[in-house]
Symmetry: C2
Subunit: 189 residues, 2 copies
DNA sequence: TACAAAGTGTACTGCACGGTACAATGCTTT
DNA sequence: AAAGCATTGTACCGTGCAGTACACTTTGTA
């Protein structure tokens, strides 16, 4: 039997899209076999704990991506403004300009959260923390930095919901622009 | 056999909570029978089209509630500020200060959206429109009103995601306060 | 070339799912 | 009180589900 994939990680992006589209409960093994092109044998070979393990791997993959491409730059960029601008750029790109939904956000809303509570918590906590620290370095007061960071992260999530509900990615890209503007100057006390 | 309920509408709130907790795909008939206390016979008597009809009725119920308790006041309040403040109050109360999730938002994220696209679209469209018109009456420019309305509605949705991810309703109530503040004065052009 | 490990396909299991059928029971109306 | 409709419980249906078993093939290694 011909080998289909070299590594488990090759199919993780496909799994991600399926979970994004269907949610955890709605993602069926049959759809997963079809879209990955892998039989159940292979699937359970790579993910012995089944669907739950697949979702966990996908979540970790997303978290890693953000860690590397967003959170670290936020913290290490010489100029914090560069790091923040890069965050918005990476975010827009990751979410396909609002056409793609946030997997972590999707999982956070229903009881799927309980299965993956730690990862989900850590993801948003790391994001707000990294952004707040960059804002602080930009001259924001400690409270303003915290508040603005929460507003931005929540704003991104909400914009994804809104954009999808209106079937209009423009809702997302416009919201991003306004959120980005709010990171430029600290709000008046 | 003793009659359990007088009207179909009596169990709609229970159905709402189940869909909020489990999502559409995750809400099982067996859980619905248990938590409503109704057998399948009664359930299919009241909702001949099954789960899909139940969800539809719940969505319509939510939409009606917001129409009456939020959108209409936003449009009719003598003083628009009163209408807007009332919106935030009603919102906090409806979402149990961030402990309860938005059903429409939950449905919007995964493929459940496709089943109920019109209702979901209309809900958020009506909300942003009503809020924008109130902001206009408050003296916001037409673009600022539109933008702020989108920011607020998205901000609410995002705050619900964030609050749930952190298991901390405070995230929601704090976000609401900041969003409310932003409706007080039009942003600098 | 032999052998073990990794990877794959297929048939299968048991179960829970959404939904149906229908008889039994209550309620309302006359 | 009789009829007729609304409501309910239960048994049942076919289907698709997640997951397992296992034989088989490919690959890496020596």
């Amino acid at each position: 039997m011909a080998r289909k994939i070299a590594e488990r990680s090759d199919i993780v992006p496909v799994l991600g899209e399926i979970f994004r589209e269907r949610g955890f409960a709605g993602a069926s093994l049959s759809e997963i076999t079809q879209r990955t092109g892998l039989g159940k044998g292979s699937l359970y070979h790579f993910f012995p704990d089944g669907k739950e393990e697949m979702a966990k791997v996908v979540l970790d993959d997303v978290a890693d991506w953000f860690e590397t491409n967003v959170f670290v730059p936020l913290g290490t960029a010489e100029d914090p403004e560069v790091g923040i601008d890069h965050m918005f750029k990476a975010t827009v790109s990751f979410f396909h300009s609002g056409r793609r939904v946030c997997l972590v956000g999707t999982f956070a809303l229903d009881d799927t959260r309980d299965r993956f509570a730690e990862v989900i918590h850590a993801y948003f906590a790391a994001w707000t923390k990294a952004l707040a620290s960059a804002l602080r370095r930009r001259g924001f007061g400690i409270k303003a930095a915290r508040a603005t960071a929460e507003d931005v992260v929540a704003g991104i999530q909400g914009a994804l919901v809104l954009a999808r509900s209106q079937d209009d990615p423009g809702v997302f890209t416009r919201a991003i622009k306004r959120l980005q503007a709010r990171t430029k100057t600290a709000p008046a006390a």
